[in-house]
């Protein structure tokens, strides 16, 4: 008895929720506000919880099934028999998709509950839950699809939901609604740039391996690689590493769109225009991790490229490029994060930075570490966003309270922004629960022992140092290691700044005095996530024996069977043991140990392995760095936060650092895109094309060249060659031409019917001529 047959419910339940809220939600709300909210909110939540229950059942079924993957075939989607092109709707249930479904539905359920409280009173309450359910639907397609094309359905679908939810408050006054719409559009278009690459990558995959289904593609790729065969695409011969370099780089571009990495990250901070539960669910915990999921899912393809040593344009290999993109993003976004004043934007840049950590991890082959960080990050970042939502909610209430009791003289209140940390301060006493969970989330994010983030971040750093074995680190690994260390410093630093600004000191706005703690509907999910942020590291605790670089050499290169033998040692590395059944790269070295290619080459001698024991040198140094960042932030830079909201950020007053701060506050890459590409290239191009089309093609070529010369010709025929008319038919044709000429000369005057009639007669004559000519 297993639960795999229930898998379609993962898609059916959210769709029921969408239909319910989309069709009847409005009537419930209009009939009775509070009952309507209950129905909308709890119905949507029930569907989310339902998918979570199904995910848990599938999780246990997988365990009972020896972790073997199960593919549930639904029905055919594409099917062109003569072109050998078939793609089914099928769900791949394996340990990797199981992790993703648990995160998506688990965190998703909590956020649904939280949103009932957060969205209370919103006029479009039902619409919000419609979108949330729709998001779950597409996200679950994304992570359970058995082919790249199905992944792509979810991929674009969550992009759509993201668009809808960012633009949720599309009609806010004071131009804010328009800005929300712009942010939504920006997100969709930036994602489409990534999708462009995804489409090309999938097409290449199909022509290289004849399928887009994971199992077929991976098996075929391994086969062809180890037999050093080549493939023909449209008659041109390619080696497998060449093709896979193309495919993996295209997938990387796709991933940079969805997971907000350089060069396509700039949509995510703007996406904070959406309601906060959305920022927590979509723009922190789930959707933006799709890119990491894609790369982990494609691990075989990336490892083949790594093993072959094939380099893109002879410069850098595809997996290294992934690692570099992630590492650079981690630092860039980390630097921008401490220049922001909007409480959610700090977290948004932090998310970009943390996604950079994950991308860097999977780029180095640390698939488990990347997924581990994905899971813990989902816990603590969802927590931080929801807690920031609680703060914003409180600030709005405080401000509202102020208005109600100020008897209308709200003169200097117009610039109030509930998300601007410069208005906050001293919220610690007003919102104790929110404050404490915020602290827990921040410590987890900063990677302080023993919070969840410590374990996952440490695993990534350990991999960058020892993943290839002691003393074997390539320049790229070393680069990543130092970039991520800087990133980790930034993380602890900007969180210190944020907490000091928000919760400590004196309130910098009257509204702070009237801030209430949020309702239990909001704080209970927070408490639960705080617990997970504290304990999440237990998922994958490494072996605590061993230490330093020297002993790390033992587990490096440790294969799955060795690990399996150690499995009974307890809960250590439970997550790794769980995932190793879906990540084929894990066993590549072992599987191909004795396979020798035609030229005597051995395959998969370079598959990196994350050390299985805790690397104390890394753990201690990274913790020290984070602690140092907190201490420097707390006692030196932000020792005294300004008492007024007009005062500048203390850090901007420091020499050198202040310059860097100002530079990054200007969002250099955003500026480059928006003014460089959109304003200076695309918009003028569109205007220019329009002018060309209308003035050149439409007016000049058609009206002047073709029409006028035709009119001249017709006039010539009618007046010079045929002045009196030779016989009936010719006369008729000439008359038609003359009418035509008249019609063309004065298009806006005259009797339409006459011209039309003459044209019709002309055609009739032509037809009659041929018919009766026989």
């Amino acid at each position: 008895m297993n639960a795999f047959g229930l898998a379609p419910l993962l898609l059916i339940l959210p769709i029921i929720g969408v239909l319910f809220n989309g069709i009847v939600g409005r009537y419930f709300l209009d009939a009775d506000r509070s009952t309507g909210e209950k129905w909308s909110g709890w119905f949507g939540t029930a569907m989310a919880v339902g998918t979570f229950i199904v995910s848990v059942l599938i999780f246990f079924s997988l365990g009972a099934n020896d972790h073997h993957a199960e593919i549930v075939h639904l029905f055919n989607w594409f099917n062109i028999p003569s072109g050998n092109f078939t793609i089914p709707w099928a769900m791949q249930l394996d340990t990797l998709s199981s992790v993703m479904t648990l995160v998506v539905t688990g965190v998703g359920s909590l956020i649904h509950i939280y949103a009932i409280g957060y969205m209370h009173g919103d006029r479009d309450f039902h619409r919000f839950f419609t979108y949330l359910n729709l998001f779950l639907f597409f996200m679950l397609i994304l992570v359970t699809g058995s082919s790249y094309l199905m992944l792509f359905v979810g991929w674009e679908g969550v992009g759509l939901c993201s668009f809808l939810l960012i633009g949720f408050w599309f009609d806010k006054p004071k131009g804010e609604g328009i800005l929300n719409g712009d942010a939504a559009r920006k997100a969709f278009v930036a994602n489409r740039v990534g999708d462009f690459a995804m489409i090309l990558g999938m097409i290449l995959t199909f022509w290289a391996f004849g399928s887009m289904e994971y199992e077929v593609v991976f098996e075929s790729a391994l086969d062809l690689y180890t037999t050093t065969e080549t493939v023909f695409i449209a008659g041109i011969e390619f080696t497998i590493p060449q093709v896979l370099t193309g495919i993996t780089v295209l997938f990387l571009i796709g991933a940079t769109g969805k997971s907000a990495q350089i060069p396509l990250f700039m949509w995510l901070p703007d996406a904070m225009a959406g309601p906060t539960p959305v920022s927590a669910l979509i723009h922190a915990a789930t959707m933006v991790t799709s890119g990491i999921y894609l790369i982990v899912r494609s691990n075989v393809l990336f490892e083949i490229v790594r093993d072959s040593g094939h380099q893109l344009f002879g410069i850098v290999s595809a997996p290294d490029l992934v690692a570099i993109a992630g590492a650079v993003t981690a630092v860039y976004a980390g630097l921008v994060a401490f220049t922001q004043f909007d409480i959610k934007k700090v977290l948004a840049y932090s998310t970009v930075s943390q996604l950079g950590f994950m991308i860097a991890a999977v780029g180095m082959g640390a698939y488990v570490a990347g997924m581990f960080h994905l899971v813990t990050h989902a816990f603590f970042k969802a927590l931080l966003f929801m807690a920031s939502g609680s703060v914003i909610h409180g600030m709005e209430h405080g401000h509202h309270h102020l208005h109600e009791h100020s008897h209308g003289d709200d003169h200097e209140e117009d610039d109030f922004d509930p998300q601007d940390m410069r208005f906050m301060g001293g919220l610690r006493e007003k919102m104790p629960v929110t404050f404490w969970v915020y602290i827990i989330g921040s410590l987890a994010l900063a990677g302080i022992f023993p919070f969840a983030g410590f374990w996952s971040k440490d695993e990534i750093l350990a991999h960058s140092a020892y993943g290839l074995g002691v003393g074997e680190a390539t320049p790229v690994f070393t680069f990543v290691r130092w970039m991520l260390t800087i990133g980790a410093f930034c993380t602890a630093f900007y969180m210190t700044r944020q907490i000091k600004m928000t919760f400590f000191g004196e309130g910098r706005h009257e509204a702070v005095k009237h801030v209430p703690e949020s309702s239990p509907l909001m704080t209970r999910p927070l408490a639960f996530l705080a617990f997970l942020s504290l304990m999440g590291g237990a998922l994958n605790i490494p072996y605590l024996t061993g230490g330093g670089g020297e002993e790390a050499s033992t587990p490096v290169g440790m294969t799955a069977s060795v690990l399996a033998a150690e499995e009974d040692k307890g809960l250590n590395l439970a997550f790794e043991h769980w995932l190793e059944h879906s990540i084929q790269a894990f066993t590549l070295e072992e599987d191909f140990e004795n396979v020798v290619g035609p030229n005597g080459e051995h395959f998969f001698t370079h598959v990196p392995h994350t050390p299985t024991s805790l690397q104390y040198d890394i753990a201690i140094s990274s913790t020290l760095i984070a602690v140092a960042a907190i201490l420097i932030g707390w006692y030196v830079v932000f020792r005294v936060w300004p008492r007024s909201k007009e005062d500048p950020d203390p850090i901007s007053q420091w020499p050198v650092v202040g310059f860097v701060w100002t530079f990054f506050q200007g969002l250099p890459l955003d500026t480059l895109y928006m003014t460089g590409i959109v304003k200076n290239i695309f918009n003028p191009l569109a205007r220019f094309s329009d002018v060309v089309d209308w003035n050149f093609w439409h007016n000049f070529v058609h009206n002047n060249l073709i029409r006028d010369s035709f009119v001249a010709l017709a006039d010539f025929l009618a007046t010079v060659l045929d002045p009196k008319g030779v016989d009936g038919i010719v006369n008729g044709v000439g008359q038609t031409a003359r009418n035509l000429a008249e019609a063309l000369r004065r298009p806006q005057t005259g009797n339409t019917g006459n011209y039309a009639l003459s044209l019709f007669l002309g055609v009739a004559l032509l037809v009659a001529f041929f018919v009766f000519a026989s």
Binding site: W77, N79, S82, F85, G181, F196, I233, A234, R687
Partner: protein, 502 residues
């Protein structure tokens, strides 16, 4: 060969409606309602009839089915020959569906010369069915020209401010192309001694020597109709000036007559020339995709924006055709249907709003979601379908075409370059369509004229739901749609490749 009368019957059904409408005033004074009722009933009966004959169509047979033949002008080798196969079966259904929708959508919008209007609409339906059913070049040409006349009047009488200019331009442009085709048709017919298409294809060596010229004779006529860049200049005028139903039919069916013509005539009759021309046609196709999209972005009039987007979308169809492989042609046919559905629906939606506001400027709108939520949601789904969101119909066609172009043997050494350029249309589609959607539906509802807008009524909703049914069906379960043409397309490609290769 057994003759079947069903296709002739199908073509005649709208004419029956025409005759009834002609005699209507005799019976009743409330002529307007009766005319509308008869026209709608005729269109719906024709639609139902076209569905009812589907069981007679065998998807496994690649050749013509349900043929009806008769002698006509023996001296010239002209015959009456109609039939249907995988290339045309979906076009027939699209025609009857779009005609019914277009006639249904005219209920409130047409207030002058109602009788003539519906007569022209029904005549147009017969003409379009004839174009897709005719299997004799001469018969085809007559139907091809015949469709011009009702469309000319529809634009010229019931159109917008510049309707006369637009209608004449539409007429002359198409006529100019048709004359070239007529010359090619006469040459082929006289050389082969017959105008019957199956015989012409079987005896193509009789005119193969001139096929490089003949190909272009046909191709230019079809390219104008599609329209392929740079022959597109008539389209924005015709679309913006045509009444709503005219635009729906124009985008939904008339443009497909061009793409259909390439597949029905150019490929099987001139396979070598088609193969040679493939890189040129594909290049024009991707220019159309990108150019149409960029110009579309610059438009401020919703209808003009959608009109230019047609140039972009039809570029995909052309790329599919000239990929000259099974996936490409099937994708092209299906994308033709998809474009008919999504662009037809978009024009219908524009009509709904135009009826109330008498403007189509994006800047006049904003925040309509607040005033018309049902309208906004259906518009969103149609916009996404047009944008190629996976799970809706547009993606199925577009992706098949993009996939096919990379695997094409006809597009030279690096066919993926065509794919890469064409795929950029996917980004551009999001840019211009979201600009439109945001401009109309998002932002504050601050224009007082928009605050009193009514949402869609039941009739409009029924029409939209029928569009959405197909938009979703093709999007998630296109297998049966592909199956309807698979055998014919496989046969066609085999012939083209065999003849062009050997």
């Amino acid at each position: 060969m057994t003759n079947s009368i069903v296709l002739t019957l199908l073509m005649s059904l709208p004419l029956v409606g025409v005759v009834v409408i002609l005699f209507l005033p005799v019976f009743n004074n409330q002529t307007d309602f009766n005319i509308k009722f008869v026209a709608n009933a005729t269109a719906i009966i024709t639609l139902l009839f076209s569905i009812a004959i589907l069981p007679l169509y065998d998807m496994g047979v690649p050749t013509l089915q349900l043929e009806d033949t008769g002698s006509w002008i023996d001296a010239l080798g002209v015959t009456y020959h109609v039939g249907v196969d995988g290339l045309s079966i979906l076009m027939i259904l699209l025609t009857t569906f779009i005609s019914a929708v277009a006639i249904g959508s005219s209920w409130n919008g047409i207030d002058k010369q109602v009788k003539q209007y519906y007569i022209f609409m029904l005549l147009l339906e017969t003409g379009m069915l004839g174009v897709f059913l005719a299997q004799d070049l001469f018969l085809f040409y007559i139907f091809w020209e015949f469709t011009l006349v009702p469309m000319y009047f529809l634009i010229g009488i019931w159109g917008g401010k510049e309707r006369v200019y637009a209608s004449i331009k539409f007429f002359l442009y198409t006529m100019a192309g048709s004359l070239l085709m007529l010359i090619a048709i006469l040459y082929v017919g006289i050389q082969a001694g017959t105008f019957n298409l199956p015989e012409l294809i079987a005896n193509r060596e009789l005119y193969a020597g001139a096929q490089q010229w003949l190909f272009w004779g046909f191709a230019i006529a079809f390219a104008i109709k599609v329209p392929v860049f740079p022959f597109h200049s008539w389209l924005p005028d015709a679309h913006t000036q045509a009444p709503t139903a005219g635009s729906i039919v124009l985008a939904g069916v008339l443009l497909k007559m061009g793409t259909y013509g390439f597949m029905r005539f150019n490929l099987p009759m001139f396979p070598e020339a088609s193969t040679n021309a493939a890189p040129i046609m594909a290049t024009l196709a991707i220019i159309g995709i990108i150019y149409g999209a960029i110009v579309s972005f610059a438009q401020t009039d919703v209808k003009k924006l959608v009109a230019y987007s047609s140039i972009s979308h039809l570029g995909f169809v052309m790329l599919g055709i000239f990929s000259l492989n099974e996936i490409g042609i099937q994708g092209a046919i299906l994308q033709g249907v998809n474009h008919g559905l999504s662009t037809g629906a978009l024009f219908f939606l524009v009509g709904v709003i135009y009826e109330q506001r008498h403007t189509r400027e994006i800047s006049e709108f904003g925040g309509l979601w607040r005033a018309m939520p049902v309208f906004a949601v259906t518009s969103l789904i149609v916009t996404l379908s047009s944008m190629g969101l996976p799970g809706l119909n547009g993606f199925v066609g577009e992706f098949s075409i993009l996939l096919a172009s990379t695997g094409s043997d006809a597009l030279g050494d690096s066919p993926w370059i065509y794919t890469a350029f064409a795929t950029s249309g996917v980004i551009l589609a999001a840019i211009y369509l979201l600009k439109m959607y945001q401009g109309v539906f998002m932002g504050p509802l601050d224009n007082p004229k928009n605050q009193a807008l009514r949402d869609m009524n039941r009739g409009e909703l029924a029409i939209m739901l029928s569009f959405l049914l197909f938009i979703v069906w093709i999007g998630i379960a296109p297998s049966i749609w592909f199956a309807s043409m698979d055998a014919t397309v496989a046969d066609l490609i085999q012939n083209v490749v065999m003849m062009a290769g050997g």
